[in-house]
Symmetry: D3
Subunit: 247 residues, 6 copies
């Protein structure tokens, strides 16, 4: 078939706070970027109130903290190879509004994602994550409708992956996909190290990647020639997978 | 790397009755065979008591019915391109035994499957399906253990896919994977037509493939160039998927 | 007992979009009307944005589309024998508001329903359906309270039935009631044919009625003398059934 | 239509122990009998070990206890208007066997039930109840198969109702049907009083009937003219209800 | 260790209506108070519309009813030994707002609770209870953040207990903790008797305490020397328990 | 009250394989022993086939492996301060039998446990764990019945705790209790080091204890003065907790 070259695949990540895309999906982002694909991150808030305890204790002002978090997130996104958009919607609590959902619809149509990553539906430890989840899911459906007004073309029905919350067992999170991120692990680690405000999480998410890597190898079987230092990220799939082959 | 050629991929299908592999997984079987892969079907019973009402009403004897079902299933397996093994364990009820599980362990080790297909855990309309499920799942774990006695090499941890039961909504079945079987639909249809004893199911499973195809297209989005006559089969994944890429 | 004649039974259907009552509950509506009962449909939006893709592609304006959908729905309601109220609350997204809930409380009290039909609580493919569900359920409880202000008498606690969503397996829908609609099937089909904007759904919902009819017969047993062309609709019951007899 | 008179409706109750049919389903049994219908109780064990603590403390022998429980159960069944069959399969633990299931298939075919009552699937306080449940459900499916050998005609697919366990909230029991047993309450009470070995339960199950009656009235609404002393029993429905009307 | 005396433990109860803390948690409140601890009750509404049917039928005005309910609740709180705060946010429906949540954050920080009691997440019979639940849970998380503005010190992560709804089986309520309230039963009964507007509930909640007491003894085993009149309240735990010992 | 001294509390641990009590519950065992309480471990199999891969690869015989595992487990039990009983029932698969359950009933009655620890109900990676679970739960109920024959006194209803499986998220395991084992961590570590056959698990279960410790501190709040190196084990509670106080 003599078709024009397809545009590179596009991934959209919708998150509540400035650091979420790094800890929870940095491997998936780096992997896509390393294949020459486009990744766009929608960061609804800076996490200025709920996830910046260290800065508050140091006596920073709200504006300083937002600036700090923004700068860190920009650096991390650059390391991973992604473009980042900030919405400054105010965290703790992040309140779903029609206007914010509308801006997300616009982004969906501009980006035309082939894959969407976002928070799962439950998190008893942080209400902003479910709030971001609801807006990401609603905007995805609205952006498909020719009757929904706004610029840009309507989108298809891109698959959604929920990334892992901080307390998976208490948030009804079940690993349904284990993504091998070994090849980009160094990049993810560098991106994590951009987030100086949450340094205590560097080791935590390194250990998590090791554990998910062990699960990956255990589930993959001994035949795949996987290295002993396989690193992985876990995801859930709310919609059925489209497959050409069962594997 | 200068490696020897890998053996072709191997798929193992464990089912309760002679027709199950055709109605529920015929597309997956044909697809694998069409790629030059090996598919082995373990048929625990002929379905001689529970799924042969027409033959009983015609006054056939038990042996005649078993022979009839076996012949039909052999023809269907040949059409799909698969090898079939019969265990004649007696249906309605199919009783799990240590000896039958042991024979399945032996088969797992002989076949070294890369993929396993079987029934899901629940079916309030037919207790043989959960019974086959339990033995298939238990044998898969036992076959992995170097300490479990018997001939053959231990196996890895092949992914398992549950195929769709006849009454999905009443059996806790949720489509987690939609497999595009358009390319082999004619083959699946020919295999179904080998099962003269259950002719009323031909149209039923054709319609189901159409509906799952519509769901596939709805979930795949408009960009994939899928034909309007996409046909599909639905599967569940009890274990997490191993991914190189989120897609 | 020498009682005055009871008023005819009353059914209230609360739906998100103009077509929902036809596809999902047309049989129940026609059946009640055929017994001389009163059926009232509350149509919260015309489905002008989310369910009118064909009209948008033909270049219609928003007002034309609303008019088109309204006319079609009025015709379908007339065919089924029901009264219909439009609330024009705006779809995609339908936003729950106190004012709209208040108008529903008023309708509940005016209509004094013996039975309520509405959407189930989940639908990942269309957020308007859960939104309509929440308002229908909340208004039902408020309308029971003597302390809630407004015209009309308070209502009892009418049973609620959830009708079937478009993707039942992905919306936690489990058929708990199968309603035999064979006697009014022709009427439902005529009502569906009023909805020219969604012609692709005529065959889909005919096939669904056949499948639910097969399930009905399978669950009913062979003794009931049901025709082979039994047609049915599926419902869930969120509240316990009140029974004089187990059957 | 000039049809021969239908036989009276038939109800089959499958229980683990001698007292279960009284406490949990005595109202449903009495109600059916009061309408001139046939009710058959299959009592798999006498409850001689697990539910006869008082008799053991008094120093009775195993045979004396079985005789005692049998006599009490026969009296209670007579009061309710039902026929009772004892299988003496041994309780605590009641072990499912192929032979016992086979005898139940025979009973299903002899009785040709229109309604089946049995225990729900879970009870962490008494393993005999789930064991009876499994055999009752399996025998019902086997009895439908023309290919399953044995005397009698095959049966249809009678609806099943699970009666309420002693600790409903800890057994995943959710009242899906509330049966009004006010009219036969005195009969149920008399049947309970036949069970002298478990006298402490008389008041308990009277109170439960009052509470379920209150729930019935709350769900039924104020219009039904129900007496303030409405008594009720709660049931679950594992299969969808077949309806001619939503009510 | 030579530490200063710890302040007395503090319990915060967040409820939708004026009577909730009495019926559902009166025992826990009285027990804490009897140990010299501080208990604070946040009463979001008076329950003036949804739970005062008797007063409305007697022709009282809205203001009279609020006054009546407030007085009763104040008396009941005094009997139990607790401090009570009224927010008069309007019931039926109770609408979650940012401002009300904000006032709860302030209360959390003032009270510094060691234990939080509130409604569970579901109640199909009364939407105000889930609304109060959501605000109580969200305010608890916000009050932990140093970045959330407002007076007072941030709080720790106090355990939460959900008290029992009126219809537990229909609200996904499962007794996970049974609290022995025998020692303070007379106090709880006196507090209930302060609520003259809901006199029909006195006996109901007495019976419930008896039943939960029986469950407590059944689960506790015969060795604990518990009186036959043990009274109890049931609770759920949404967060894991912190234990020094398994018991 | 002038009562005789109560006997020390007694804990019973029922496990499938020789190592389970160490990895999953070693902290709870050591903690109880350190308080001067009695702990008894029932080890149904040596894990000779399913959990001794290293030994099989080294060419050991079945008897050698059983001896090896027994010796290791005896040492670990001695380190923890517990008594251990071996049943040698054969693993992979461990088959539930009436005779084995009967021996467990006898043990329950001899030991008179105040607390029971065992495997949770699900584990898709190892069928022996659910098999041990079922026997442990069934024997606990049978041991309570005066009518169940055998030596010893009947037992009460001791609370049960499920310890954590190897893949918690895939086994429906939700941490409901976090036990602080910091004080006995060194002992648990020494016991783990007795299990030379599974050395790869030492670091794994150390890391798990750290993670559960972090969760413990996060849930406990900042006020408890917990050390930064808090170590913990997670448990589920299938039965409601009996509480004197909510905390």
């Amino acid at each position: 078939m003599n078709q024009p070259a397809a545009p590179p695949r596009s991934t959209l990540v919708v998150t509540a706070h400035a650091g979420d895309f790094v800890w929870r999906a940095g491997g998936a982002v780096a992997l896509a970027a390393s294949r020459g694909e486009k990744v766009t991150i929608a960061c609804l808030t800076y996490g200025e109130r709920g996830e910046s305890a260290k800065a508050w204790r140091e006596g920073r002002t709200l504006d300083e903290i937002k600036e700090l978090r923004r700068t860190e997130a920009e650096r991390a996104a650059a390391v991973l190879g992604a473009e980042i958009h900030f919405y400054d919607a105010g965290d703790y609590p992040l309140l779903p509004t029609g206007e914010l959902t509308d801006r997300l619809v616009e982004l969906y149509r501009a980006v035309q994602p082939d894959v969407v990553l976002t928070h799962p539906a439950e998190d008893p430890y942080n209400g902003d994550h479910p709030a971001a989840h609801r807006m990401a899911m609603e905007a995805r459906v609205l952006a498909q409708a020719i009757g929904y007004p706004g610029p840009g073309e309507i989108i298809g029905a891109p698959p959604v992956f929920y990334f892992e919350p901080h307390q998976p067992e208490l948030s009804n999170f079940r690993p349904e996909v284990l993504l091998d991120i070994t090849a980009v692990w160094d990049t993810k680690r560098k991106a994590m190290e951009c987030l100086a405000a949450q340094q205590h999480l560097w080791a935590y998410y390194t250990d998590l990647a090791v554990r998910r890597g062990v699960q990956l190898r255990r589930n993959a079987g001994p035949n795949l020639g996987l290295a002993h230092d396989t690193m992985a990220e876990a995801y859930m799939r709310p919609f059925p997978q489209i497959a050409k082959e069962l594997a």
